[in-house]
Symmetry: D2
Subunit: 355 residues, 4 copies
């Protein structure tokens, strides 16, 4: 089978680089085009990109000439991954969808749009039904699917089986987020060394809102958001990759610590069932050692696509607390967008652009 | 006036070193003796101590010969600071109190003993009345006063004015604690670099319990503990000094963000009123910048004795959330023990040991 | 005596901030003006400056309105400290000197100009005689005096007594330089964490050249450069402040390790003799412990103005090797410029600008 | 072909863990036994080992019961990897060799013994002829082969082609060594954060001596050491893995920068020729970017077995300088011992122990 030709928007940034790395040997997808801002257009990717995600840039990408982020410039592609910054992603992604492309986006612009799926394939694969709503309303043959914020990708995976079994009432989450989440150059080293920054611009509102859509119920043409309350406190710490999140939860139904662990351990989603190439087996890893998960030791679990949970224990204020870790640029961004596209491919949404 | 002669138990550890540093030019106290474990006894302090708290060890301390942690060995001292590890502090401190010494302890052993004050001078100076109870019950002329755990020292200072004005119902606290809190050698660098450890042995139970005694009410011969619920999640991060704590609270009385800030800003305690040498003016610093407090920038506020608060904002689950920072080995340990002793001195509890 | 009114060019950068901090309570100088690039002009310093050098900006500076870097805008000042970047400093400093100001510059632009003193007051105070040459040649009543590159300030201090006693033939220096040397935002944290960067743009040529002028001999109207060979290898490491330099040297005269240590220990310069306010006593600290100097422990020696030397030992290839540490933004930049100005003041070069 | 059964001495330490990791799927060798100090003997490896080298311990190792470091306890093994500390390795390794085992050692004890090969397979494979000398002199059927110190493994690889072509006269090397080189717990985080330690106990003498044997010439029954002079200055920096070494060299024959690069680029050794499983292709990677090699980006080159060289440029004092990087626990320790054993296997030295 011929691989699906894909283009990457925002290919020179940290998430763009992870997309290039993760797609290097992908069994279904093949990079045909790298696109970025005007500053880089026309230049060779190997020269304009400050490659930071591994030792060496994949050889194929190195020689590619960077294209503009315009539909006509990527006409040899069918599937578009968008790693654009939130402030420019909106209209560009719409232009691509209008021009028949399938857009798998990591940007925040359309996450909360009512007719755009905010998708984590293990959590709400049925929300893909919004694609038809989106096409109908917007008159597009292409479409946009988004993944949540890096913090919410991991959090949502953990909340899903607990919400299903016990019903979430309230969620308190305190994050210790990695430097790569701020992009490159991102956080100055003088602010990071021997320090914690107790603020990430725009982050807390996303963490308090996106899980409600993600765990919402599809009713007819729309998603009815979940109604539990979330409070987020977000911090930047001196780790390279891996967002650590300490979470306390109250449930509608009583749940013991063991029942919570069982729910997490037993959780499987559609990607695991379908055996999607990027699906981790299992999606959630529950550890019993008191000092795990740790970013350095656990972020590569399941190739960066599994979420590691530890310290599940009773909470004196709410019901249960735990700590979770997800790789922010893999499960939280590039890998999320890829898994989303894999699900769409498996379910027949990638039927080829009308060229 | 002659300075009070003091001895330091556990003088070679991190807290012991901070005591040596902070007492170098103290207006009321003068170091007469340094004591430590058998391994160091008889050796010169400058040689056995891995000095880590500043560039150079104070010259006076450098030449002192380390003594054993026994009452008869420190007979030229009146006031004893204990920076002993929790597992040995209990009986040693009792031996000193029984031998007429005043013991200002940073160890955990007696913190929850009903007849031992767990003191933060700005918070519960009236608990010093327990000294008489302690003497009566134990038949001592000396006595023991303790300060709380490093995390609780800072947290208690912030909770105090809020509990007084609005009544605390629940407190959720997530900490990002500095490496110096684990002592020396403490955390291996391979566990600290590019990492967060979501566990500190024995810490969470202390954080969930000690504030209740600290904010409790003295009734007759005992402290009736406060009754609000606390849940703690403690993490070790790669900072040298300064524990960062993100806190969410629910109150009995409604409180706006502005009212909370006002309560914190207006807070003064007895040490400020008495002008104790180590009392910061003010004890709480409230900052408005969204990205403060930060350990590197704020830990030295008030000479390490002030607690810096920021990000006061509404909490979608409880009522108000905020982030606070306290210097863990100054306000959280050595400085706390010194301020406690200053209050005792100011209130006439240091009347001279019966030699 | 009225304090000399000073202005700071480039006041918002890292070196500018150190100047503001160090001049806050200076006995001779008083900040009258803060100047910076067009982007900041007209705004309040407290708002445009990302203050990073200590907890709180000095209150006086906070309210000052930033002025343009033009002579007429700083007419209430007599002495100008230039912390401008090298690419713009040249012409601006010349304009100030032409307008009768005394300019003490940390910028690289004029360091190697034949009629501009490249000054470390302990090393070559006689080079101030170039001021007259400079005025004569350029027709200025003001003048420019520079300090060396951050690495060379510390290195030059150590080389001086050794060159005087033993004659340097060759010097090999490998540096491990702190993040603050790259300014703010400077080095991205993703490049600094768990990493060393073996390159600092433009640094090695400066380190290989400036010491030759610094240790040169004034002959008539010019400095005859020293003739020993220097080889530099410069690295950026994850320290906040303090450049560590490991040095190996061959001498013209035989020198034992003890003789080298003696030469370093006995070294005093004119600033120590004159008791200049910023002069460290002594300028060089020689330590015997095998694992010193260390940036974290030793950078504040002498208020950041002393250089700490350790590990003096024989070199199997050259003659002697050692490791030295200097605070890069104090002795290496802001403090250097201030000490230079103090020497000029003490020697009568600050006679008041013709207003 | 049946795999060779191997035992690991010192299996719980950092190098022992790397051996376990690297041998997990080795095509020729299979772990049959894990041995460690008395403290661990009899316990399950998964429980006594503080696993730090990757996310998860290999499943096979996890269940193994730790054995004592005695020949009779490892009788099912033929090949022994020794990751023992230098102070105990000597006699234990001799006992194994005397009991017919082949010992591939990373310990320092026998490195400089005249009848023990100090081997880097690309550098001096002919030194394996010392095995016969060793057996003859000691009356063993087994034997010991060692690899150099972590710093020397990488340095020796780079020096080899240059010594062959141009003849080394003098070598100055300044190292910035990773934390993992100090083992676990190793360097306290309080000494590592925001710091450099300019001293590593016992390291410099090894770096100044071992390359001379490594690059020595086998003459009859002995190695005639090379005669160039080496001077080493060793530092511990805050990187996890990867020793960075900045080197300056003088040659007997004139050599341009381009000739040096060519010699490095063209270098191949016997392991590359034989296609040994752990042999990197090529062994030396020469990069042209001014800011490479960097520990974080380059330590995994060639699976951690290649050495990356950059910044090759003229030296104003000696002839040429450059910076190199080698993975200290792979090419510098565990991988070195494995490659040594592979060469012995390929050359018929592993003929089976007389059981």
């Amino acid at each position: 089978m011929d691989k699906v030709k894909v283009g990457i928007l925002g290919a020179t940034g940290m998430v763009g680089q992870q997309l290039v790395r993760l797609l290097e040997r992908h069994p279904w997808f093949e990079i045909a085009a790298l696109a970025a801002s005007d500053r880089s257009v026309g230049q060779v990717y190997g020269e304009v990109c400050s490659w930071r995600v591994s030792a060496d840039m994949p050889a194929a990408a190195r020689e590619m000439r960077v294209r503009p982020c315009e539909p006509q410039a990527l006409s040899d592609c069918e599937l578009i991954f968008s790693a654009l910054p939130g402030d420019v992603a909106g209209s560009i992604e719409e232009a691509f969808a209008a021009a028949d492309y399938v857009v798998s986006s990591n940007a925040s612009s359309h996450r909360m749009s009512p007719d755009v799926p905010l998708l984590v394939p293990e959590v709400n694969p049925d929300h893909l039904a919004l694609i038809d709503v989106q096409r109908r309303r917007r008159g597009w043959r292409g479409f946009i699917v988004t993944n949540p914020n890096c913090t919410v990708n991991a959090l949502g995976l953990v909340l899903k089986p607990l919400h299903d079994r016990f019903g979430l009432r309230t969620v308190m989450v305190t994050t210790m987020q990695a430097l790569s989440g701020a992009g490159y150059p991102g956080v100055p080293s003088l602010d990071s060394l021997d320090n914690v920054i107790p603020y990430i611009a725009g982050e807390e509102p996303k963490v308090e809102r996106e899980p409600l859509k993600l765990l919402g119920r599809l009713e007819g043409d729309e998603v009815r958001e979940a109604t539990f309350a979330i409070s987020a406190q977000c911090h930047r710490v001196a780790t390279r990759d891996g967002h650590l999140e300490s979470v306390a939860m109250a449930f509608e139904q009583p749940a013991t610590v063991e029942e919570v662990k069982d729910a997490l351990r037993e959780f499987r989603g559609l990607p695991q069932e379908l055996g999607l190439p990027s699906a981790p087996q299992p999606p959630l890893v529950v550890r019993e050692e008191p000092e795990r998960p740790q970013p350095r030791l656990d972020r590569e679990a399941g190739g960066g696509m599994a979420v590691v949970v530890g310290r599940v224990r009773p909470c004196p204020v709410l019901h249960v607390k735990l700590t979770l870790l997800g790789h922010n640029t893999v499960r939280g961004a590039a890998g999320a967008a890829i898994l989303n596209a894999e699900l769409q491919a498996a379910q027949g949404y990638l039927r080829g652009r009308t060229l």
